[in-house]
């Protein structure tokens, strides 16, 4: 069974601080995705990383895929209250097509 473990589960910081969220597995994934879910809404895809060692930037968000394709990280620079939400990493199942396995999520709160 492929599992994705995210850390930390909860993160409460002040506006302007930097933070990193981790997504780790003992399994190799062909790709990993990061979603953000705002309160009362469904998850929205932020990025997909496909190549080991890949780094993708989305404004103040930097995503990295581990060289061995077993882990990924999300780094936010100068966090803003609008970054508040649930961050989820997800990867495709290696046995069931179309199935995404999600991490348990990181709840981020950015205080003004």
């Amino acid at each position: 069974t492929q599992l994705l473990e995210q850390s930390p589960q909860f993160l409460s910081i002040q506006e302007g601080e930097n933070l990193t969220v981790y997504c780790n597995s003992s399994s190799v994934f062909s790709s990993l995705q990061w979603y953000r879910q705002e309160p009362g809404e469904g998850p929205v895809l932020l990025v997909t990383v496909v190549t080991g060692g890949e780094v993708k930037k989305l404004k103040r968000l930097t995503f990295q895929f581990g060289d061995a394709r077993k882990d990924s990280s999300l780094h936010i620079t100068a966090a803003q209250p609008g970054d508040t939400g649930l961050y989820l990493c997800a990867g495709p199942s290696d046995t069931s097509y179309g199935k995404l396995t999600f991490g348990q999520g990181t709840i981020l709160t950015v205080h003004p």
Binding site: S30, S31, Q33, Q37, G40, E41, G42, P43, V44, L45, T48, V50, L86, L88, A90, G91, P92, S93, D94, T95, S96, Y97, G98, K99, L100, F102, Q104, G105, I107
Partner: protein, 118 residues
């Protein structure tokens, strides 16, 4: 225009009742999904349909029965509701379906249905 819509957004009901949740997508996608998000925010796949055909059926009680009348709609009927069914149920869709372990394309999620069983 809403890409993936669900009704109702909130559903409060008594134990033992039967209820349905409806989902529609206007993206022209071939694949639709039902997910359950528990109180700890863990999101887990329940079912997936591709062109009205069931392709993923996770370990879900038989009380849950999905139905896809056409590829733009995927409904979820729940019989004999139990307290543990309380959760947020998300519908999602994606363009196609890929082989196991391959690059996963974008899934578009609906706003969720908050089910509370009393």
């Amino acid at each position: 225009d809403t890409a993936v819509s669900q009704t109702p957004k909130y559903l409060v009901t008594q134990m033992g009742n039967d209820k349905s949740i409806k989902c529609e997508q206007n993206l022209g996608h071939d694949t639709m999904y039902w997910y359950k998000q528990d109180s700890k925010k863990f999101l887990k796949i329940m079912f997936s349909y591709n062109n009205k055909e069931l392709i993923i059926n996770e370990t879900v009680p038989n009380r849950f029965s999905p139905k896809s009348p056409d590829k733009a709609h995927l409904n979820l009927h729940i019989n004999s509701l139990e307290l543990g069914d309380s959760a947020v149920y998300f519908c999602a869709s994606s363009q196609g379906i890929l082989l196991a372990g391959e690059f996963q394309e974008t899934q578009y999620f609906g706003p969720g249905t908050r089910l509370l069983v009393l």
